[in-house]
Symmetry: C2
């Protein structure tokens, strides 16, 4: 249960902490469907049956609420995608585990409207301000992580030296994002099949004959 | 000038037609930045210096305004992307011309917030109703067109028989969409370089040695 992990550091959270987690959980789901701009203290308090003043106590402004929601979503993403993958050995296996876990997270609709970051990065890409910067930070970290995983798979000798970590990180992200978007738009898992197949093909292009691709 | 083509059937448009075009032009730009939900009769009339009642005369409701905006954006997209490409001969050259024209359209920011359809499809993918259906129709037509162009390049013998039109349409769309999204989010044309390189590599995998890839 990834959402429980947000408060896993506090075994017996105060009532306020529970409320904050419940608000953020609802906020992430709402934002994945309606975007972060659709997230107002009004809509949230209505969805949760809480008073507006109670919500204001946790989040002083809409912007603070949006920032906290992005940070909470990143924790869920990390727990879902990296949690299982760190058990895989460094190299191609871990790269495959992350990509596989990511597509599972998309397919299982951990957030009601599909991938949270796909929704909000399209929403904020042409805006300015701290919310955009927060989202950009998450996306940059994700791209750097994918590139690092490719680099490690080259270092382990499983991917050949022609594999370009930045280029492949771009491609894997592109394919997974389009898998998510097609799945959300058409309610049809075919897009995710296309995404997995394309990622597998690209890995095959660079993998040593003995290397096992598990996606 | 693609926007002029919207009213190209009417050489001397009435005043009302001019206003409708001006409204739709502003609406497309606004929606590419703030999304179709950010598009209200209020924000539009303010941006254009028109009265709300004047706008209501053209668009009875927010939904009608959103639908008209999607239809107008499709005309601009077609003029920008397919207009130059139909001069290229059927087959690999036309496929390359469409993909190249699409990435040019993204890079030139024909819409203020980048690709209109990238923005609004992420916004409406988890919603219901006629606006979602209109966007889905545009996206389906785009994917079918890409698949048809791949099929024609197979028929002309330039792409080998292992090229899967639906799979490649998914991949090309994924790569261009991610090029757009990276360009919008990071204000850095590197994403578009990655997108072009990835598309070229995928075409090379299936192209006959004599075939010329012009992207």
């Amino acid at each position: 249960m990834p959402l429980a992990m947000i408060s896993s550091a506090a075994p017996k959270p105060r009532k306020g902490a529970f409320t904050r987690d419940a608000v953020l959980r609802e906020a992430m789901d709402l934002a994945s469907v309606k975007g972060l701009e659709g997230l107002t203290i009004g809509t949230l308090s209505e969805a949760l049956g809480l008073s507006k003043s109670g919500l204001f106590a946790h989040f002083g402004s809409k912007e603070e609420l949006q920032l906290a929601t992005v940070q909470a979503a990143q924790k869920v993403f990390n727990a879902e995608v990296f949690g299982p993958a760190v058990r895989a050995p460094k190299g191609l296996k871990r790269l495959c585990a992350v990509l596989d876990g990511w597509l599972d997270y998309v397919e299982q609709e951990i957030f009601r409207g599909g991938c949270f970051f796909a929704s909000v990065s399209a929403e904020f890409d042409s805006r300015e301000g701290p919310v955009r910067e927060e989202i950009l930070g998450c996306m940059d970290l994700w791209m750097e992580t994918l590139a690092r995983l490719v680099r490690e798979a080259k270092e382990s000798g499983e991917l050949g030296r022609h594999a370009d970590p930045e280029q492949l990180a771009f491609e894997f992200n592109a394919l997974g994002m389009a898998g998510n978007s097609g799945f959300q738009l058409r309610r049809d898992p075919k897009s995710l099949v296309f995404a997995r197949r394309a990622i597998r093909e690209r890995l095959k292009t660079f993998a040593q004959p003995y290397a096992r691709i598990t996606i």
